[in-house]
Symmetry: C2
Subunit: 301 residues, 2 copies
Protein backbone atom coordinates (compact mmCIF):
# COMPACT_ATOMS: atom_id res chain seq x y z
CA UNK A 1 0.00 0.00 0.00
CA UNK A 2 1.63 3.23 -1.10
CA UNK A 3 0.71 6.83 -0.80
CA UNK A 4 2.34 10.07 -1.82
CA UNK A 5 3.34 12.70 0.73
CA UNK A 6 4.01 16.35 -0.13
CA UNK A 7 6.73 17.86 2.02
CA UNK A 8 8.05 21.41 1.88
CA UNK A 9 11.82 21.31 2.36
CA UNK A 10 13.81 24.54 1.77
CA UNK A 11 11.04 25.85 -0.46
CA UNK A 12 11.28 22.81 -2.68
CA UNK A 13 8.42 20.42 -3.09
CA UNK A 14 9.51 16.87 -2.70
CA UNK A 15 7.18 14.07 -3.60
CA UNK A 16 8.09 11.12 -1.49
CA UNK A 17 6.49 7.80 -1.96
CA UNK A 18 6.44 6.03 1.33
CA UNK A 19 5.67 2.38 1.42
CA UNK A 20 3.53 1.65 4.42
CA UNK A 21 3.76 -1.98 5.43
CA UNK A 22 0.82 -3.28 7.37
CA UNK A 23 1.17 -5.87 10.11
CA UNK A 24 -1.92 -8.01 10.42
CA UNK A 25 -2.29 -10.33 13.38
CA UNK A 26 -5.81 -11.71 13.15
CA UNK A 27 -7.26 -14.22 10.72
CA UNK A 28 -10.43 -12.21 10.18
CA UNK A 29 -8.55 -9.02 9.28
CA UNK A 30 -6.33 -10.95 6.90
CA UNK A 31 -9.31 -12.54 5.13
CA UNK A 32 -11.04 -9.17 4.77
CA UNK A 33 -7.85 -7.62 3.39
CA UNK A 34 -7.39 -10.50 0.92
CA UNK A 35 -11.01 -10.21 -0.27
CA UNK A 36 -10.51 -6.49 -0.90
CA UNK A 37 -7.31 -7.04 -2.87
CA UNK A 38 -8.87 -9.79 -4.97
CA UNK A 39 -12.02 -7.74 -5.59
CA UNK A 40 -9.87 -4.88 -6.87
CA UNK A 41 -8.43 -7.17 -9.53
CA UNK A 42 -4.92 -7.14 -8.09
CA UNK A 43 -2.67 -10.19 -7.93
CA UNK A 44 -1.97 -11.28 -4.37
CA UNK A 45 1.10 -13.35 -3.52
CA UNK A 46 2.05 -15.18 -0.36
CA UNK A 47 5.48 -16.09 0.93
CA UNK A 48 4.94 -18.23 4.03
CA UNK A 49 7.87 -18.31 6.46
CA UNK A 50 8.74 -19.15 10.04
CA UNK A 51 10.64 -15.84 10.27
CA UNK A 52 14.33 -15.30 11.09
CA UNK A 53 14.61 -14.34 7.46
CA UNK A 54 17.72 -14.85 5.35
CA UNK A 55 18.59 -14.19 1.73
CA UNK A 56 16.84 -17.41 0.75
CA UNK A 57 13.51 -16.10 2.01
CA UNK A 58 14.22 -12.69 0.52
CA UNK A 59 14.83 -14.21 -2.91
CA UNK A 60 11.26 -15.55 -2.74
CA UNK A 61 9.97 -12.17 -1.60
CA UNK A 62 11.75 -10.40 -4.48
CA UNK A 63 10.32 -12.81 -7.01
CA UNK A 64 6.85 -12.32 -5.55
CA UNK A 65 7.35 -8.56 -5.58
CA UNK A 66 8.21 -8.68 -9.30
CA UNK A 67 5.30 -10.92 -10.23
CA UNK A 68 2.40 -9.51 -8.24
CA UNK A 69 0.64 -6.38 -7.03
CA UNK A 70 0.34 -7.16 -3.37
CA UNK A 71 2.86 -9.26 -1.42
CA UNK A 72 1.96 -10.86 1.90
CA UNK A 73 4.68 -12.53 3.96
CA UNK A 74 3.47 -14.71 6.79
CA UNK A 75 5.70 -15.18 9.82
CA UNK A 76 4.55 -18.03 12.00
CA UNK A 77 6.60 -20.65 13.78
CA UNK A 78 4.13 -23.48 13.33
CA UNK A 79 4.10 -25.86 16.31
CA UNK A 80 2.30 -28.54 14.28
CA UNK A 81 5.37 -29.18 12.12
CA UNK A 82 7.78 -29.79 15.00
CA UNK A 83 8.02 -33.27 16.48
CA UNK A 84 8.55 -34.01 20.17
CA UNK A 85 12.19 -33.31 21.05
CA UNK A 86 12.66 -31.03 18.04
CA UNK A 87 13.72 -27.38 18.26
CA UNK A 88 10.35 -25.62 18.51
CA UNK A 89 11.30 -23.83 21.75
CA UNK A 90 14.74 -22.75 20.57
CA UNK A 91 13.81 -22.02 16.94
CA UNK A 92 15.38 -18.61 16.26
CA UNK A 93 13.04 -15.60 16.22
CA UNK A 94 13.70 -11.91 15.54
CA UNK A 95 10.56 -10.11 14.46
CA UNK A 96 12.11 -6.63 14.49
CA UNK A 97 14.89 -7.64 12.10
CA UNK A 98 12.37 -9.48 9.88
CA UNK A 99 10.15 -6.40 9.82
CA UNK A 100 13.00 -4.17 8.68
CA UNK A 101 14.12 -6.59 5.99
CA UNK A 102 10.59 -6.91 4.61
CA UNK A 103 10.05 -3.16 4.72
CA UNK A 104 13.12 -2.78 2.50
CA UNK A 105 11.68 -5.29 0.04
CA UNK A 106 8.47 -3.23 -0.19
CA UNK A 107 6.30 -5.98 1.20
CA UNK A 108 2.69 -4.86 1.66
CA UNK A 109 1.61 -6.99 4.59
CA UNK A 110 3.24 -9.11 7.24
CA UNK A 111 0.74 -11.65 8.52
CA UNK A 112 2.02 -12.52 11.98
CA UNK A 113 -0.62 -14.41 13.94
CA UNK A 114 -0.14 -15.79 17.44
CA UNK A 115 -0.29 -19.51 18.16
CA UNK A 116 -3.61 -18.88 19.95
CA UNK A 117 -4.93 -17.21 16.81
CA UNK A 118 -3.92 -20.10 14.55
CA UNK A 119 -4.68 -22.93 16.97
CA UNK A 120 -7.33 -21.72 19.45
CA UNK A 121 -7.96 -25.41 20.14
CA UNK A 122 -6.07 -28.50 18.99
CA UNK A 123 -6.87 -29.19 15.34
CA UNK A 124 -8.99 -32.30 14.91
CA UNK A 125 -8.51 -31.91 11.16
CA UNK A 126 -5.45 -33.42 9.52
CA UNK A 127 -4.36 -32.99 5.93
CA UNK A 128 -2.35 -36.00 4.86
CA UNK A 129 -0.63 -36.29 1.51
CA UNK A 130 0.07 -39.98 1.22
CA UNK A 131 3.17 -41.54 -0.39
CA UNK A 132 4.94 -38.21 -0.90
CA UNK A 133 5.18 -37.68 2.86
CA UNK A 134 6.39 -41.18 3.67
CA UNK A 135 9.95 -40.92 2.40
CA UNK A 136 13.04 -38.66 2.88
CA UNK A 137 12.31 -36.13 5.65
CA UNK A 138 8.85 -37.61 6.10
CA UNK A 139 10.39 -40.89 7.23
CA UNK A 140 12.76 -39.21 9.72
CA UNK A 141 10.38 -36.59 11.05
CA UNK A 142 6.99 -38.33 11.42
CA UNK A 143 4.16 -35.79 11.31
CA UNK A 144 6.41 -32.95 10.14
CA UNK A 145 5.05 -32.73 6.61
CA UNK A 146 1.48 -33.24 7.87
CA UNK A 147 2.03 -30.20 10.07
CA UNK A 148 3.28 -28.31 7.02
CA UNK A 149 0.30 -29.21 4.83
CA UNK A 150 -2.07 -28.34 7.69
CA UNK A 151 -0.60 -24.87 8.20
CA UNK A 152 -0.28 -24.16 4.47
CA UNK A 153 -3.93 -25.15 3.92
CA UNK A 154 -4.85 -22.76 6.75
CA UNK A 155 -2.66 -19.97 5.34
CA UNK A 156 -4.14 -20.40 1.86
CA UNK A 157 -7.66 -20.06 3.31
CA UNK A 158 -6.62 -17.05 5.37
CA UNK A 159 -4.43 -15.12 2.90
CA UNK A 160 -6.26 -16.25 -0.28
CA UNK A 161 -3.25 -15.77 -2.56
CA UNK A 162 -3.23 -16.14 -6.32
CA UNK A 163 0.37 -17.32 -6.07
CA UNK A 164 2.49 -18.82 -3.32
CA UNK A 165 6.29 -19.02 -3.34
CA UNK A 166 8.35 -21.86 -1.90
CA UNK A 167 12.06 -22.61 -1.92
CA UNK A 168 13.55 -25.65 -3.64
CA UNK A 169 15.68 -26.44 -0.56
CA UNK A 170 12.56 -28.01 0.93
CA UNK A 171 11.99 -29.92 -2.29
CA UNK A 172 9.74 -32.51 -0.69
CA UNK A 173 7.70 -29.80 1.02
CA UNK A 174 6.95 -27.92 -2.20
CA UNK A 175 6.08 -31.23 -3.91
CA UNK A 176 3.68 -32.15 -1.08
CA UNK A 177 2.09 -28.71 -1.26
CA UNK A 178 1.77 -28.87 -5.04
CA UNK A 179 0.00 -32.18 -4.69
CA UNK A 180 -2.28 -30.91 -1.94
CA UNK A 181 -3.18 -27.92 -4.10
CA UNK A 182 -3.98 -30.18 -7.05
CA UNK A 183 -5.96 -32.71 -5.02
CA UNK A 184 -7.97 -30.14 -3.02
CA UNK A 185 -8.37 -27.71 -5.97
CA UNK A 186 -6.87 -24.74 -4.16
CA UNK A 187 -6.97 -21.90 -6.69
CA UNK A 188 -3.32 -21.05 -6.01
CA UNK A 189 -0.33 -21.19 -8.34
CA UNK A 190 2.71 -22.68 -6.62
CA UNK A 191 6.04 -21.12 -7.65
CA UNK A 192 9.22 -22.93 -6.63
CA UNK A 193 12.37 -20.81 -6.49
CA UNK A 194 15.98 -22.05 -6.70
CA UNK A 195 18.00 -22.82 -3.59
CA UNK A 196 19.83 -19.74 -2.33
CA UNK A 197 23.34 -20.52 -1.10
CA UNK A 198 26.03 -18.93 1.07
CA UNK A 199 29.24 -18.00 -0.76
CA UNK A 200 30.78 -21.35 0.15
CA UNK A 201 27.76 -23.21 -1.22
CA UNK A 202 25.93 -24.07 2.01
CA UNK A 203 22.19 -23.84 1.42
CA UNK A 204 20.72 -20.93 3.38
CA UNK A 205 18.71 -21.97 6.43
CA UNK A 206 17.60 -20.32 9.63
CA UNK A 207 19.15 -23.33 11.36
CA UNK A 208 22.62 -22.42 10.03
CA UNK A 209 22.81 -19.96 12.92
CA UNK A 210 23.10 -22.88 15.36
CA UNK A 211 26.36 -24.02 13.70
CA UNK A 212 29.75 -23.48 15.37
CA UNK A 213 32.47 -22.17 13.00
CA UNK A 214 33.90 -25.69 12.78
CA UNK A 215 30.51 -27.30 12.09
CA UNK A 216 29.80 -24.50 9.61
CA UNK A 217 32.95 -25.38 7.72
CA UNK A 218 32.26 -29.12 7.75
CA UNK A 219 28.66 -28.60 6.57
CA UNK A 220 29.95 -27.36 3.21
CA UNK A 221 30.45 -31.00 2.34
CA UNK A 222 26.70 -31.41 1.85
CA UNK A 223 26.61 -29.20 -1.22
CA UNK A 224 30.01 -30.53 -2.32
CA UNK A 225 28.73 -34.11 -2.27
CA UNK A 226 25.75 -33.07 -4.41
CA UNK A 227 28.12 -31.36 -6.87
CA UNK A 228 30.19 -34.56 -6.95
CA UNK A 229 27.04 -36.60 -7.71
CA UNK A 230 26.24 -34.28 -10.60
CA UNK A 231 29.82 -34.53 -11.88
CA UNK A 232 29.70 -38.33 -11.79
CA UNK A 233 26.39 -38.40 -13.69
CA UNK A 234 27.68 -35.94 -16.28
CA UNK A 235 30.74 -38.14 -16.75
CA UNK A 236 28.54 -41.13 -17.47
CA UNK A 237 28.08 -42.91 -14.16
CA UNK A 238 24.64 -44.55 -14.15
CA UNK A 239 24.86 -46.73 -11.06
CA UNK A 240 23.05 -45.03 -8.20
CA UNK A 241 24.71 -47.09 -5.47
CA UNK A 242 28.17 -46.03 -6.65
CA UNK A 243 27.21 -42.38 -6.57
CA UNK A 244 25.43 -42.51 -3.21
CA UNK A 245 28.39 -44.47 -1.78
CA UNK A 246 30.77 -41.74 -2.85
CA UNK A 247 28.53 -39.00 -1.42
CA UNK A 248 28.16 -40.78 1.90
CA UNK A 249 31.93 -41.33 2.10
CA UNK A 250 32.57 -37.60 1.55
CA UNK A 251 30.04 -36.61 4.20
CA UNK A 252 31.22 -39.19 6.74
CA UNK A 253 34.77 -37.84 6.38
CA UNK A 254 33.50 -34.60 7.95
CA UNK A 255 32.16 -36.42 11.02
CA UNK A 256 28.53 -35.32 11.02
CA UNK A 257 26.60 -36.07 14.19
CA UNK A 258 24.14 -38.09 12.12
CA UNK A 259 23.26 -38.79 8.51
CA UNK A 260 19.50 -39.14 8.09
CA UNK A 261 19.50 -40.00 4.41
CA UNK A 262 21.47 -39.67 1.20
CA UNK A 263 19.08 -40.60 -1.58
CA UNK A 264 18.47 -40.59 -5.31
CA UNK A 265 14.77 -40.33 -6.08
CA UNK A 266 12.33 -39.64 -8.88
CA UNK A 267 11.62 -35.89 -8.60
CA UNK A 268 7.88 -36.41 -9.24
CA UNK A 269 7.11 -39.38 -7.00
CA UNK A 270 10.11 -39.31 -4.60
CA UNK A 271 10.44 -43.07 -5.14
CA UNK A 272 14.03 -44.34 -4.96
CA UNK A 273 15.60 -45.01 -8.32
CA UNK A 274 18.12 -47.72 -9.10
CA UNK A 275 19.54 -46.60 -12.41
CA UNK A 276 19.86 -43.12 -13.82
CA UNK A 277 17.86 -42.67 -16.99
CA UNK A 278 15.64 -39.63 -16.38
CA UNK A 279 16.21 -36.52 -14.27
CA UNK A 280 17.05 -37.58 -10.74
CA UNK A 281 16.85 -35.73 -7.46
CA UNK A 282 19.78 -36.25 -5.14
CA UNK A 283 18.62 -35.31 -1.67
CA UNK A 284 20.20 -35.54 1.75
CA UNK A 285 19.73 -34.68 5.40
CA UNK A 286 22.44 -34.69 8.06
CA UNK A 287 22.99 -33.28 11.49
CA UNK A 288 25.99 -31.15 12.38
CA UNK A 289 25.94 -30.16 16.04
CA UNK A 290 22.38 -29.13 16.81
CA UNK A 291 21.46 -28.36 13.20
CA UNK A 292 19.65 -30.84 11.04
CA UNK A 293 20.46 -29.59 7.53
CA UNK A 294 18.91 -30.58 4.24
CA UNK A 295 19.99 -30.00 0.66
CA UNK A 296 19.26 -31.39 -2.80
CA UNK A 297 20.15 -31.10 -6.45
CA UNK A 298 18.18 -32.02 -9.56
CA UNK A 299 20.47 -33.69 -12.08
CA UNK A 300 19.72 -34.51 -15.71
CA UNK A 301 21.74 -37.33 -17.22
Amino acid sequence: MCYGVLRVVDNALLLLTIAVMEIIQTIHQMQVFADEVRASGKILSLVSTMGYLHEGHLSLVRRAREESDVVVVSIFVNPAQFGPGEDLGSYPRDFESDRMLLQKERVDVIFAPSVAQMYPEPSLTYVYVHLLTETLCGADRPGHLDGVSLVVAKLFNICKPHKAYFGAKDFQQQLVIRRMVRDLNFDVEIVTCPIFREEDGLAMSSRNTYLSPRERSCAQVLNQSLAEAERMVKEGERNVETILGKMREMIEAKNPDRIDYVSAVDPNTLEPIQEIKCPVLFALAAKFGKSRLIDNRLVEP
Copy 2:
Protein backbone atom coordinates in the same frame (compact mmCIF):
# COMPACT_ATOMS: atom_id res chain seq x y z
CA MET B 1 -28.29 -14.29 -13.76
CA CYS B 2 -31.35 -12.45 -15.07
CA TYR B 3 -32.06 -10.33 -18.05
CA GLY B 4 -35.08 -8.53 -19.37
CA VAL B 5 -36.60 -9.33 -22.76
CA LEU B 6 -38.92 -6.99 -24.66
CA ARG B 7 -41.57 -8.82 -26.61
CA VAL B 8 -44.28 -7.33 -28.79
CA VAL B 9 -47.49 -9.31 -28.32
CA ASP B 10 -50.72 -7.95 -29.81
CA ASN B 11 -49.32 -4.44 -29.76
CA ALA B 12 -48.65 -4.68 -26.06
CA LEU B 13 -45.17 -4.50 -24.65
CA LEU B 14 -44.49 -7.24 -22.17
CA LEU B 15 -41.42 -7.14 -20.03
CA LEU B 16 -40.49 -10.65 -19.12
CA THR B 17 -37.72 -11.43 -16.73
CA ILE B 18 -36.23 -14.73 -17.63
CA ALA B 19 -33.93 -16.47 -15.23
CA VAL B 20 -31.12 -18.08 -17.13
CA MET B 21 -29.53 -20.86 -15.17
CA GLU B 22 -25.98 -21.68 -16.14
CA ILE B 23 -24.61 -25.21 -16.07
CA ILE B 24 -20.89 -25.25 -15.36
CA GLN B 25 -18.96 -28.46 -15.79
CA THR B 26 -15.31 -27.50 -15.34
CA ILE B 27 -13.43 -26.51 -12.21
CA HIS B 28 -11.65 -23.64 -13.91
CA GLN B 29 -14.87 -22.07 -15.21
CA MET B 30 -16.47 -22.40 -11.78
CA GLN B 31 -13.51 -20.71 -10.05
CA VAL B 32 -13.54 -17.85 -12.57
CA PHE B 33 -17.29 -17.42 -12.09
CA ALA B 34 -16.93 -17.44 -8.29
CA ASP B 35 -14.14 -14.85 -8.43
CA GLU B 36 -16.33 -12.58 -10.54
CA VAL B 37 -19.29 -12.89 -8.18
CA ARG B 38 -17.13 -12.22 -5.12
CA ALA B 39 -15.41 -9.27 -6.80
CA SER B 40 -18.80 -7.72 -7.54
CA GLY B 41 -19.60 -7.72 -3.82
CA LYS B 42 -22.40 -10.26 -4.12
CA ILE B 43 -23.00 -13.03 -1.61
CA LEU B 44 -22.41 -16.49 -3.09
CA SER B 45 -24.01 -19.57 -1.57
CA LEU B 46 -23.41 -23.25 -2.21
CA VAL B 47 -25.75 -26.17 -1.75
CA SER B 48 -23.72 -29.31 -2.40
CA THR B 49 -25.75 -32.36 -3.39
CA MET B 50 -25.42 -35.75 -5.02
CA GLY B 51 -28.47 -34.94 -7.16
CA TYR B 52 -31.78 -36.84 -7.35
CA LEU B 53 -33.18 -33.86 -5.54
CA HIS B 54 -36.11 -34.01 -3.14
CA GLU B 55 -37.89 -31.45 -0.99
CA GLY B 56 -35.13 -31.75 1.62
CA HIS B 57 -32.54 -30.46 -0.85
CA LEU B 58 -34.98 -27.85 -2.12
CA SER B 59 -35.53 -26.52 1.39
CA LEU B 60 -31.77 -25.80 1.50
CA VAL B 61 -31.91 -24.19 -1.92
CA ARG B 62 -34.83 -21.96 -0.88
CA ARG B 63 -33.05 -20.85 2.26
CA ALA B 64 -29.90 -20.10 0.22
CA ARG B 65 -32.02 -18.21 -2.34
CA GLU B 66 -33.47 -16.02 0.43
CA GLU B 67 -30.12 -15.31 2.06
CA SER B 68 -27.81 -14.67 -0.87
CA ASP B 69 -27.39 -13.03 -4.25
CA VAL B 70 -26.04 -15.95 -6.22
CA VAL B 71 -26.94 -19.58 -5.54
CA VAL B 72 -24.78 -22.43 -6.81
CA VAL B 73 -26.01 -26.01 -6.47
CA SER B 74 -23.43 -28.70 -7.06
CA ILE B 75 -24.54 -32.08 -8.32
CA PHE B 76 -21.85 -34.70 -8.00
CA VAL B 77 -22.13 -38.32 -6.91
CA ASN B 78 -18.82 -38.46 -5.08
CA PRO B 79 -17.16 -41.87 -5.40
CA ALA B 80 -14.81 -41.10 -2.49
CA GLN B 81 -17.65 -41.26 0.04
CA PHE B 82 -18.91 -44.70 -1.00
CA GLY B 83 -17.31 -47.76 0.54
CA PRO B 84 -16.68 -51.03 -1.31
CA GLY B 85 -19.99 -52.87 -1.67
CA GLU B 86 -22.03 -49.70 -1.15
CA ASP B 87 -24.51 -48.31 -3.69
CA LEU B 88 -22.28 -46.04 -5.81
CA GLY B 89 -23.24 -47.79 -9.05
CA SER B 90 -26.95 -47.87 -8.34
CA TYR B 91 -27.20 -44.47 -6.61
CA PRO B 92 -30.22 -42.80 -8.27
CA ARG B 93 -29.49 -40.10 -10.84
CA ASP B 94 -31.83 -37.88 -12.88
CA PHE B 95 -30.09 -34.75 -14.08
CA GLU B 96 -32.96 -33.54 -16.25
CA SER B 97 -35.43 -33.62 -13.38
CA ASP B 98 -32.87 -31.94 -11.08
CA ARG B 99 -32.29 -29.23 -13.67
CA MET B 100 -35.99 -28.45 -13.93
CA LEU B 101 -36.47 -28.35 -10.15
CA LEU B 102 -33.51 -26.00 -9.72
CA GLN B 103 -34.66 -23.79 -12.57
CA LYS B 104 -37.96 -23.34 -10.73
CA GLU B 105 -36.09 -22.34 -7.57
CA ARG B 106 -34.24 -19.62 -9.53
CA VAL B 107 -30.85 -21.16 -8.94
CA ASP B 108 -28.08 -19.29 -10.78
CA VAL B 109 -25.62 -22.08 -11.45
CA ILE B 110 -25.58 -25.84 -11.41
CA PHE B 111 -22.02 -27.05 -10.96
CA ALA B 112 -22.06 -30.54 -12.41
CA PRO B 113 -18.52 -31.82 -12.91
CA SER B 114 -17.63 -35.28 -14.19
CA VAL B 115 -15.71 -37.77 -12.05
CA ALA B 116 -12.73 -37.25 -14.37
CA GLN B 117 -12.93 -33.51 -13.71
CA MET B 118 -13.01 -33.93 -9.93
CA TYR B 119 -10.60 -36.88 -9.70
CA PRO B 120 -8.34 -36.83 -12.77
CA GLU B 121 -6.03 -39.07 -10.71
CA PRO B 122 -6.56 -40.77 -7.36
CA SER B 123 -6.30 -38.18 -4.59
CA LEU B 124 -3.16 -38.64 -2.50
CA THR B 125 -4.50 -35.98 -0.16
CA TYR B 126 -6.86 -36.99 2.62
CA VAL B 127 -8.72 -34.66 4.95
CA TYR B 128 -9.39 -36.45 8.22
CA VAL B 129 -11.44 -34.96 11.02
CA HIS B 130 -10.49 -37.10 13.98
CA LEU B 131 -12.84 -38.17 16.80
CA LEU B 132 -15.96 -36.75 15.13
CA THR B 133 -15.64 -39.24 12.27
CA GLU B 134 -15.01 -42.27 14.46
CA THR B 135 -18.51 -42.79 15.85
CA LEU B 136 -22.10 -43.26 14.54
CA CYS B 137 -22.01 -43.51 10.71
CA GLY B 138 -18.22 -43.12 10.78
CA ALA B 139 -17.91 -46.41 12.66
CA ASP B 140 -20.23 -48.30 10.27
CA ARG B 141 -19.00 -46.76 7.02
CA PRO B 142 -15.21 -46.48 7.33
CA GLY B 143 -13.86 -43.78 5.05
CA HIS B 144 -17.32 -42.38 4.25
CA LEU B 145 -16.93 -39.15 6.20
CA ASP B 146 -13.33 -38.75 5.01
CA GLY B 147 -14.70 -38.89 1.46
CA VAL B 148 -17.23 -36.24 2.41
CA SER B 149 -14.68 -33.86 3.93
CA LEU B 150 -12.41 -34.37 0.91
CA VAL B 151 -15.11 -33.48 -1.59
CA VAL B 152 -16.46 -30.59 0.47
CA ALA B 153 -12.94 -29.12 0.80
CA LYS B 154 -12.62 -29.43 -2.98
CA LEU B 155 -16.05 -27.85 -3.58
CA PHE B 156 -15.25 -24.97 -1.23
CA ASN B 157 -12.04 -24.26 -3.15
CA ILE B 158 -13.85 -24.54 -6.48
CA CYS B 159 -17.11 -22.68 -5.73
CA LYS B 160 -15.65 -20.24 -3.16
CA PRO B 161 -18.96 -19.69 -1.37
CA HIS B 162 -19.57 -17.21 1.44
CA LYS B 163 -22.16 -19.61 2.84
CA ALA B 164 -22.80 -23.32 2.47
CA TYR B 165 -26.03 -25.08 3.38
CA PHE B 166 -26.31 -28.57 4.85
CA GLY B 167 -29.24 -30.59 6.14
CA ALA B 168 -29.55 -31.71 9.75
CA LYS B 169 -30.46 -35.26 8.68
CA ASP B 170 -26.73 -35.82 8.16
CA PHE B 171 -26.05 -34.32 11.58
CA GLN B 172 -22.63 -35.89 11.89
CA GLN B 173 -21.68 -34.72 8.40
CA GLN B 174 -22.49 -31.07 9.10
CA LEU B 175 -20.62 -31.29 12.41
CA VAL B 176 -17.54 -32.75 10.69
CA ILE B 177 -17.71 -30.03 8.04
CA ARG B 178 -18.12 -27.30 10.64
CA ARG B 179 -15.03 -28.59 12.41
CA MET B 180 -13.03 -28.84 9.18
CA VAL B 181 -14.00 -25.26 8.33
CA ARG B 182 -12.90 -24.06 11.77
CA ASP B 183 -9.65 -26.02 11.79
CA LEU B 184 -8.63 -25.15 8.23
CA ASN B 185 -9.92 -21.56 8.39
CA PHE B 186 -12.17 -21.87 5.36
CA ASP B 187 -13.85 -18.46 5.02
CA VAL B 188 -17.27 -20.09 4.70
CA GLU B 189 -20.30 -19.81 6.97
CA ILE B 190 -21.97 -23.18 7.48
CA VAL B 191 -25.77 -23.06 7.73
CA THR B 192 -27.56 -26.17 8.97
CA CYS B 193 -31.21 -26.50 8.00
CA PRO B 194 -33.87 -28.62 9.75
CA ILE B 195 -34.69 -32.14 8.60
CA PHE B 196 -37.37 -32.16 5.94
CA ARG B 197 -39.87 -35.01 6.35
CA GLU B 198 -42.47 -36.84 4.31
CA GLU B 199 -46.05 -36.44 5.51
CA ASP B 200 -45.77 -39.61 7.58
CA GLY B 201 -42.59 -38.33 9.25
CA LEU B 202 -39.95 -40.31 7.32
CA ALA B 203 -36.88 -38.11 6.79
CA MET B 204 -36.46 -37.27 3.11
CA SER B 205 -33.64 -39.11 1.39
CA SER B 206 -32.75 -40.00 -2.17
CA ARG B 207 -32.43 -43.56 -0.87
CA ASN B 208 -36.15 -43.64 0.06
CA THR B 209 -36.80 -44.42 -3.60
CA TYR B 210 -35.29 -47.89 -3.09
CA LEU B 211 -37.99 -48.77 -0.53
CA SER B 212 -40.84 -51.15 -1.37
CA PRO B 213 -44.26 -49.95 -0.17
CA ARG B 214 -44.03 -52.35 2.79
CA GLU B 215 -40.49 -51.23 3.72
CA ARG B 216 -41.60 -47.62 3.25
CA SER B 217 -44.37 -48.15 5.77
CA CYS B 218 -42.11 -49.92 8.29
CA ALA B 219 -39.43 -47.21 8.00
CA GLN B 220 -41.79 -44.70 9.63
CA VAL B 221 -40.81 -46.31 12.91
CA LEU B 222 -37.46 -44.53 12.79
CA ASN B 223 -38.97 -41.11 13.26
CA GLN B 224 -41.58 -42.55 15.62
CA SER B 225 -38.89 -43.98 17.89
CA LEU B 226 -37.17 -40.58 17.99
CA ALA B 227 -40.47 -38.94 18.89
CA GLU B 228 -40.92 -41.53 21.63
CA ALA B 229 -37.42 -40.74 22.97
CA GLU B 230 -38.33 -37.07 23.10
CA ARG B 231 -41.61 -37.85 24.86
CA MET B 232 -39.81 -39.96 27.48
CA VAL B 233 -37.27 -37.19 28.14
CA LYS B 234 -39.99 -34.55 28.39
CA GLU B 235 -41.83 -36.76 30.89
CA GLY B 236 -38.74 -36.93 33.07
CA GLU B 237 -36.89 -40.07 32.00
CA ARG B 238 -33.15 -39.46 32.48
CA ASN B 239 -31.74 -42.95 32.00
CA VAL B 240 -30.32 -43.26 28.50
CA GLU B 241 -30.34 -47.07 28.47
CA THR B 242 -34.07 -47.16 29.21
CA ILE B 243 -34.81 -44.78 26.35
CA LEU B 244 -32.51 -46.49 23.83
CA GLY B 245 -33.95 -49.86 24.86
CA LYS B 246 -37.46 -48.65 24.11
CA MET B 247 -36.40 -47.16 20.74
CA ARG B 248 -34.64 -50.36 19.72
CA GLU B 249 -37.65 -52.44 20.72
CA MET B 250 -39.94 -50.28 18.57
CA ILE B 251 -37.62 -50.53 15.56
CA GLU B 252 -37.02 -54.27 15.93
CA ALA B 253 -40.81 -54.83 15.93
CA LYS B 254 -40.76 -53.60 12.31
CA ASN B 255 -38.18 -56.21 11.26
CA PRO B 256 -35.50 -54.01 9.76
CA ASP B 257 -32.82 -55.83 7.76
CA ARG B 258 -30.21 -54.40 10.12
CA ILE B 259 -29.86 -51.82 12.87
CA ASP B 260 -26.49 -50.06 12.65
CA TYR B 261 -26.88 -47.91 15.75
CA VAL B 262 -29.39 -46.31 18.07
CA SER B 263 -27.43 -43.79 20.11
CA ALA B 264 -27.68 -40.87 22.48
CA VAL B 265 -24.70 -38.55 22.09
CA ASP B 266 -23.44 -35.11 23.00
CA PRO B 267 -24.39 -32.94 19.99
CA ASN B 268 -21.03 -31.15 20.05
CA THR B 269 -18.59 -34.02 20.50
CA LEU B 270 -20.76 -37.00 19.45
CA GLU B 271 -19.53 -38.82 22.55
CA PRO B 272 -22.08 -41.23 24.04
CA ILE B 273 -23.84 -39.88 27.10
CA GLN B 274 -25.02 -41.93 30.06
CA GLU B 275 -27.42 -39.57 31.75
CA ILE B 276 -29.53 -36.82 30.29
CA LYS B 277 -28.61 -33.43 31.71
CA CYS B 278 -27.87 -31.22 28.70
CA PRO B 279 -29.30 -31.27 25.16
CA VAL B 280 -28.85 -34.74 23.72
CA LEU B 281 -28.82 -35.96 20.15
CA PHE B 282 -30.69 -39.19 19.55
CA ALA B 283 -29.39 -40.64 16.31
CA LEU B 284 -29.97 -43.88 14.49
CA ALA B 285 -29.19 -45.79 11.33
CA ALA B 286 -31.02 -48.88 10.10
CA LYS B 287 -31.44 -50.79 6.89
CA PHE B 288 -34.81 -51.58 5.38
CA GLY B 289 -34.45 -53.62 2.21
CA LYS B 290 -31.62 -52.04 0.23
CA SER B 291 -31.89 -48.64 1.92
CA ARG B 292 -29.66 -47.67 4.80
CA LEU B 293 -31.63 -44.85 6.41
CA ILE B 294 -30.51 -42.36 9.05
CA ASP B 295 -32.43 -39.98 11.24
CA ASN B 296 -31.88 -37.96 14.41
CA ARG B 297 -33.52 -35.58 16.83
CA LEU B 298 -32.04 -33.03 19.20
CA VAL B 299 -33.83 -33.15 22.53
CA GLU B 300 -33.55 -30.69 25.40
CA PRO B 301 -34.39 -32.07 28.82
